[in-house]
């Protein structure tokens, strides 16, 4: 295999991985946009989504698509419940209290996960996508096709909701200026709740897709992708939806290239090197406007 061939192959792998980061990063960035919270529990929400998909396929015997949809719905509701119980009471508290609470929620979900489903990794059953085919000599497998397709559908749907629907306009208005949004008659609590629903269900989709792609899931699986998606959101510009997608894909591609051409031990290091670089060079991210945040 020559260099060029391997490069393309790694790009294909990188975009698959990056799509997953992008789905998680979208939730991060939406939630940050509306309540200025880095929701450190978001990676664990993704883990819950993966388990719900897993139980949908194994216990309930569903095929992968209905299991995915149900997991997205239930995880979305979980996101709303977490917001209502943990974050809403802190609406007027200092931001640091909110952040510490998010870390608490993260631990809670991780250890509740270990309690209920044990720390033993589970193996996702065969979903009928374990086939691979080659296109012009490049290997693409069924899981990758599914990841591409579902990611694109979900992103198109999200774009439609955010740009065209009344809910989406209310979300954008409340993200920009919550108080003035209220003067328009927008119930900001409801909009925040819906944002958690959408963000969490996207994370659930990512969780199920990862289960299908890598076959194993465990209660701590959310920690690393959660951090990586955070890096992706910062890379693209936190609070900016297209930024989260581009940041996620770039991160996935860089990781795949590092793993393919250097060594997979440097994979995770690459993500955090990017974070440090972005924070040094352009803290507002690729899509961010260079405004000095007023403190």
């Amino acid at each position: 295999m020559d260099f060029f061939h391997q490069l393309i192959q790694q790009l294909i792998n990188g975009v698959s991985l990056g799509s997953i980061y992008a789905l998680i990063a979208l939730g991060y960035t939406m939630i940050y946009g509306i309540i200025k919270l880095i929701n450190f529990a978001h990676g664990d929400i993704y883990m819950v989504g993966a388990y719900l998909g897993f139980f949908g396929v194994t216990v309930a015997g569903l095929s992968i698509f209905p299991a995915l949809l149900i997991s997205m719905f239930v995880t979305g509701c979980l996101g709303m419940v977490v917001e209502k119980l943990a974050y809403k009471p802190l609406r007027h508290a200092p931001r640091i209290s909110l952040l510490i609470t998010a870390i608490g929620v993260s631990f809670f979900l991780e250890y509740a996960g270990m309690y209920f489903v044990t720390a033993t990794p589970r193996t996702f059953p065969d979903t009928g996508l374990n086939f691979a085919f080659s296109v012009a000599g490049f290997i693409i497998n069924g899981q990758q096709v599914m990841i591409f397709a579902i990611t694109i559908i979900l992103m198109a749907l999200l774009t439609y909701i955010v740009q065209k629907t009344k809910l989406g306009k209310a979300m954008r208005a409340a993200s920009f200026d919550t108080e003035t949004a209220q003067l328009m008659g927008i119930d900001s609590d409801r909009v925040i709740s819906m944002t958690f629903f959408i963000g969490s269900s996207l994370a659930a989709a990512a969780g199920v897709l990862v289960g299908v792609y890598y076959n194993t899931i465990d209660p701590l699986m959310g920690i690393m992708p959660g951090l990586k998606a955070f890096v992706a959101a910062v890379l693209g510009g936190i609070g900016i939806l297209p930024g989260a997608v581009v940041g996620g894909i770039i991160l996935g591609v860089i990781e795949a290239l590092v793993a393919g051409f250097l060594s997979s031990t440097f994979r995770d290091a690459a993500a955090f090197a990017i974070l440090i670089l972005v924070l040094l060079v352009k803290p507002s991210g690729l899509f961010g406007k260079n405004t000095n945040e007023k403190v």
């Binding site: 306009k169 209310a170 920009f176 200026d177 003067l183 328009m184 008659g185 119930d187």
Partner: protein, 236 residues
């Protein structure tokens, strides 16, 4: 019975006592103005009426309903719409989207379309810039957008917070004549201003606010002629 009746409200920011027992009324069809210097509590009063702040004590009655303590997003549905100080347009959204948000509470699409025409009739410049991002409008155009957006909820009472702020004299006159037109078309107006001259010239009644208290009130023409007011607010 007055349309809006504020009875002895006290409003605090933490320990700061910003509004100290204000009472005022606005009758249907009037333009009433609330004038006062920087920090007198004019914006605080408007923000309390529209529900962004809650009075610690006192009552706010609108069309016979107690609205003190009602959340801001519901007060809009009762028929009160505010043009906030500094316009507060949604800069990253288009002119059209801003106007659509103004009609957020409404589901009568025919009526909304009609009001959109009315807004474009009053502010033709907005129609020319319909798909432009609101943040790229000039200051005067942003003021027009903020007013148009407030009108899109078809309010019974329009609260205006310093619409003249930062605008050239010619534009101020244009904005004020539009306020008069809006009032003539049936919308009651409560106007907060530092530009007392202009405000008193279009209002029927006025209240003067000083450090959280109403110190004078009455007929706008009488106040405009009064010696105290001329010295304090009208530059001689």
């Amino acid at each position: 019975m007055p349309m809006l009746e504020i009875n002895d409200i006290n409003v605090y920011y933490g320990a700061i006592h910003a509004i100290k027992g204000i009472s005022l009324t606005v009758n249907e069809g009037e333009i009433v103005t609330l004038i006062g210097a920087n920090g007198a509590g004019k914006s605080t009063t408007l923000r309390t009426i529209s529900g962004l702040l809650k009075p610690k004590t006192g009552a706010i009655n609108f069309l016979g309903k107690d609205i003190a303590g009602m959340p801001a997003h519901q007060i809009v549905r009762e028929g009160i719409s505010q043009v906030p100080e500094g316009r507060k347009i949604f800069a990253e959204m288009t002119v059209m989207e801003n106007l659509e948000l103004g009609a957020f509470t409404r589901s009568d699409s025919d009526g909304v379309a009609q009001d959109l025409k009315m807004v474009f009739g009053r502010f033709p410049r907005l129609e020319e810039r319909i798909s432009q991002l609101a943040g790229t409008l000039s200051g005067g155009e942003q003021q027009m957008l903020a007013m148009g957006r407030a009108l899109m909820s078809r309010p019974k009472l329009l609260l205006l917070d310093e619409p003249s702020m930062g605008l050239a004299p010619l534009l101020i006159r244009e904005i004020f004549s539009i306020i008069v037109d809006i009032n003539k078309a049936g919308t009651t107006v409560l106007l907060v201003e530092q530009n007392a001259n202009m405000a008193l010239s279009i209002a029927s009644r006025a209240y003067v606010l000083e450090t959280g208290r109403i110190t004078l009130s009455g007929d706008a023409k009488t106040l405009a002629a009064s010696e105290d007011i001329r010295k304090a607010y009208l530059g001689g």
